[in-house]
């Protein structure tokens, strides 16, 4: 990132005198922009300098300085390193202009920042709470907001460490549970919002006088308990006949307060929590978080650990895509037979994960500067056998039975089309972006770890429909096998950890944004450290959350049954969407 900053450093300052200043805080990079000119600056950045892809928007609460800071990470969709710019606003009246009209991909992310941090985005078309419900008291990620089970600002808590008695936190809470109400609150007098705010934002169907058939508009709620939503996701759909006229994604049903807990945890304690983000691909989540913190610490893992990481990340991609394809076929109506074949292969990969990390799903295997332990003896042999003998054959089998199947083609082709321009504008990532003809893969566009050493192709589709998203996933699995084949042949002997394994790592003050190409797309971690054992800010740029920004565009004008296909082809995991 630094080279690019140098290149444009004077340039940006000259273009926007007195608006843009270089962020000179120790350990920070990028620019500080005055909020009044933020929209002009972002437009210029997008149109003149080519930073057309908004990766992440988040806020940081700098309580001691009484400032709220909004951080934007932008990249070029043609590849290369990115640019970070920030804008500051006073805490008590936090308000910055919305960038939704410059980068539509900011929509859900700005809503999240409003919900959790209370930063108002002026000009946002639909600024409602997104993860919590309307009526919830306070903005939980603010540093002075305390949850009901609050004990101390940072872990390890005294109640659990080191030798004192353990006190159950619910015994201290007056309501004997994870609850907190304002003083003089009378529950009987409370009128819940229901979903009035949500329903009022839905577009109304307007009939012209000459319409030959006038139909009623109906609102259908799909989810949170619906077999096609892959968990507890909810779509509110307005229908005219069977055609979707408007769609709003509703989430937060699995909002597990990852970031609030993450800011109380020490750096290493967050590693097992990252497993539970995208619970289908825990190793990739570990990877991104490890990269972000390693960037701050300035360490690099030894060679063998790098290879182990790549092998594990690619196996994760395989297991995730197998699940994604199986689930998509479930949604298409081929109930459980295709997924049975996909899960059969996934079990082999689960066995490898269990052997290296001790757990099938929640691996918690990566450490800062390496991996937790070396591979057991026979694991490499197992991986080799899978990569060279089994997986390619099995992927071909899936391909043969599914790809040309008439029902799959009929249901998927031309459904949920996203043009390349839209795909970039909505900040979609991973297979969704690549199926729209944008060959953007972080492993190639901005290589991390040792991905520059491997020979592989970036899978691309050009139709932007659900079928191409499916095809991209099939092709990506083949490429993953290729990478694993090269990695198991090149992997050297040696240590797997840089230095001594530490429970309490020392992380210098500063900020870092680490991103990897996870199976669902670009997974980013934004970490701010103040030099203490805990992160000051810990934010996850979740690919399946941001991909949902494009869901309404994909579905509008299509049939209601296609919304299920679109959702399946985005491949969301709710643990990551809601965090």
């Amino acid at each position: 990132m630094s080279e690019q900053v140098m290149e444009f450093g004077t340039d940006l300052g000259e273009r926007f005198p007195e608006i843009v200043t270089v962020d000179t805080r120790q350990g920070y990079e990028g620019y500080l922009v005055k909020p009044e000119k933020l929209v002009d600056f972002a437009t210029e950045l997008r149109d003149k300098l080519g930073y057309d892809y908004l990766s992440s928007v988040t806020g940081v609460d700098y309580l001691p300085e009484n400032q709220m800071e909004v951080v934007y990470h932008v990249f070029k969709s043609t590849g290369g390193s990115g640019l970070v710019f920030k804008t500051q606003t006073p805490r008590d009246q936090a308000s910055v202009p919305s960038l939704v009209h410059v980068y539509p991909g900011a929509e859900l992310q700005e809503r999240e920042a409003w919900d959790l941090l209370g930063i108002r985005f002026e000009g946002h078309p639909d600024l409602r709470r997104i993860l919590m419900w309307e009526g919830f008291e306070g903005h939980p990620l603010r540093k002075d907001w305390k949850e009901a089970y609050y004990e101390e600002d940072t872990k390890p808590f005294k109640s659990r460490w080191p030798s004192g008695e353990i006190h159950r936190v619910e015994e201290k809470n007056p309501f004997k549970g994870n609850l907190h109400y304002p003083a003089h609150f009378d529950p009987e007098k409370w009128t819940p919002d229901g979903d009035a705010a949500l329903y009022s934002t839905l577009a109304k169907v307007e009939h012209k006088p000459g319409d030959d058939m006038v139909t009623d508009q109906i609102v259908v709620n799909m989810g949170p308990q619906h077999p096609s939503t892959h968990g507890v996701f909810r779509m509110v759909v307005t229908l005219e006949g069977e055609t979707i006229t408007d769609l709003k994604p509703v989430m937060g049903y699995l909002h597990r307060n990852h970031e609030k807990i993450g800011e109380r945890n020490t750096f290493l304690m967050n590693m097992p929590y990252t497993d539970r983000l995208d619970y289908l691909s825990s190793m990739s989540n570990n990877f991104g978080y490890a990269l972000a913190v390693e960037k701050l610490m300035g360490v690099r893992p030894p060679e063998r650990a790098e290879y182990i990481r790549v092998i594990m990340a690619e196996l994760t991609r395989l297991s995730n895509h197998l699940m994604a394809i199986g689930a998509l076929l479930n949604d298409l109506g081929a109930f459980f037979t295709p997924i049975m074949y996909a899960l059969q292969e996934r079990e082999f990969i689960m066995d490898i994960f269990e052997a290296v990390s001790g757990s099938r799903m929640m691996c918690n295997y990566f450490r800062f500067g390496g991996v937790a332990r070396d591979l057991p003896e026979d694991v490499l042999e197992k991986v080799r056998r899978l990569a060279f003998e089994r997986l390619l054959r099995q992927i071909d089998e899936l391909d043969t039975y599914l790809t040309k199947n008439e029902i799959v083609r009929f249901r998927c082709e031309g459904v949920g089309v996203l043009t390349p321009v839209q795909a970039i504008a909505f900040s979609t990532c991973g297979p969704v972006l690549r199926a729209s003809g944008v060959p953007y893969d972080v492993r190639r566009a901005d290589p991390y770890s040792i991905y520059d050493r491997f020979d592989f192709d970036v899978a691309v589709g050009y139709h932007g429909d659900a079928y191409d998203r499916y095809l991209v996933r099939i092709e990506e699995m083949r490429q993953s096998v290729r990478i694993i084949q090269q990695a198991v042949q090149q992997i050297p002997e040696g240590p797997v950890m840089e230095g001594k394994p530490q429970y309490q790592v020392r992380v210098p003050a500063g900020e870092a944004y680490g991103r990897v190409e996870g199976p669902k797309g670009e997974l980013g971690y934004y970490v701010v450290s103040t030099g203490k054992p805990n992160p000051w800010r810990y934010h996850v740029r979740a690919p399946s959350f941001i991909n949902l920004t494009a869901l309404a565009t994909m579905c509008k004008g299509g049939k209601v049954a296609d919304s299920v296909v679109n959702l399946g082809s985005i491949d969301i995991v709710l643990g990551e969407t809601d965090r």
Binding site: P140, P227, V232, L254
Partner: protein
């Protein structure tokens, strides 16, 4: 199939063994129910993935008569809470439970559903589904392995075996009371607890004052 069905103490002539079974009403009734537990087709969180793995070919819970997963709660016997219960989700879960026909069972799968698990301290997390629903079986693990899940199902079957038509609640007079659906206010509100909430918000006990003092 008829293993365990025969009532002890009654002799069946050798030529009729395998064709005739003499048993009690409770036993044959429970035998039918225990081998056809239909779960609600719903995944809540991470544990749902292990639930799917258990349903797939390697572990295959259809061996226990559970392969028919019903998306409609009206047709299901068991509510498997497969993951973290959040405050935003709990009204829906209670509604689903209320819609299920009796006899119905609740299985809390994993640490989160049993007691909040690693996310317990989170502001949007309910510390265990048993705060709202009567749980029959708790399965430990994060997530429980498919083997552990199967063990939990077998525990539920054993529990069903012990029930008797004479005592079960769903044959008593009158319909069962539905569980009041929690309301989303400034925080989650259980209608059964309104009096207590009011008591504390209007006359906070000493520790609450202390915490409020810290905040100010």
């Amino acid at each position: 199939m008829t293993e365990g069905l025969n009532s002890p103490g009654v002799d069946i002539p050798p030529e009729l063994q395998g064709t005739v079974t003499i048993t009690t009403l409770d036993r044959i009734y429970n035998w039918g129910r225990r081998n056809s537990i239909w779960p609600v087709l719903m995944g809540v969180a991470c544990c749902a993935i292990e639930m799917i793995c258990t349903a797939a070919s390697r572990f295959d819970f259809s061996r226990f008569g559970m392969e028919v997963m019903r998306p409609s709660p009206r047709q299901a016997d068991m509510l498997l809470i497969s993951g973290t219960v959040t405050k935003k989700m709990v009204p829906q879960l209670v509604r689903i439970y209320n819609q299920m026909a009796e006899p119905r069972y609740v299985v809390a799968m994993g640490a989160c559903a049993s007691g909040g698990g690693p996310f317990k301290e989170g502001y949007n997390v309910v510390s265990g589904i048993d705060q709202f629903l009567p749980v029959d079986v708790y399965i430990p693990g994060c997530p429980p392995t498919p083997q552990a899940l199967l063990n939990g199902f077998i525990a539920l079957q054993k529990k069903i075996d012990k029930q008797s038509i004479k005592q079960v609640s769903w044959y008593s007079k009158g319909p069962g009371e539905p569980i009041p659906v929690p309301v989303l206010g400034p925080d989650l509100m259980d209608p059964r607890e309104y009096a207590r909430i009011r008591e504390y918000t209007f006359n906070p006990p000493a520790p609450v004052v202390e915490i409020a003092g810290e905040e100010a």
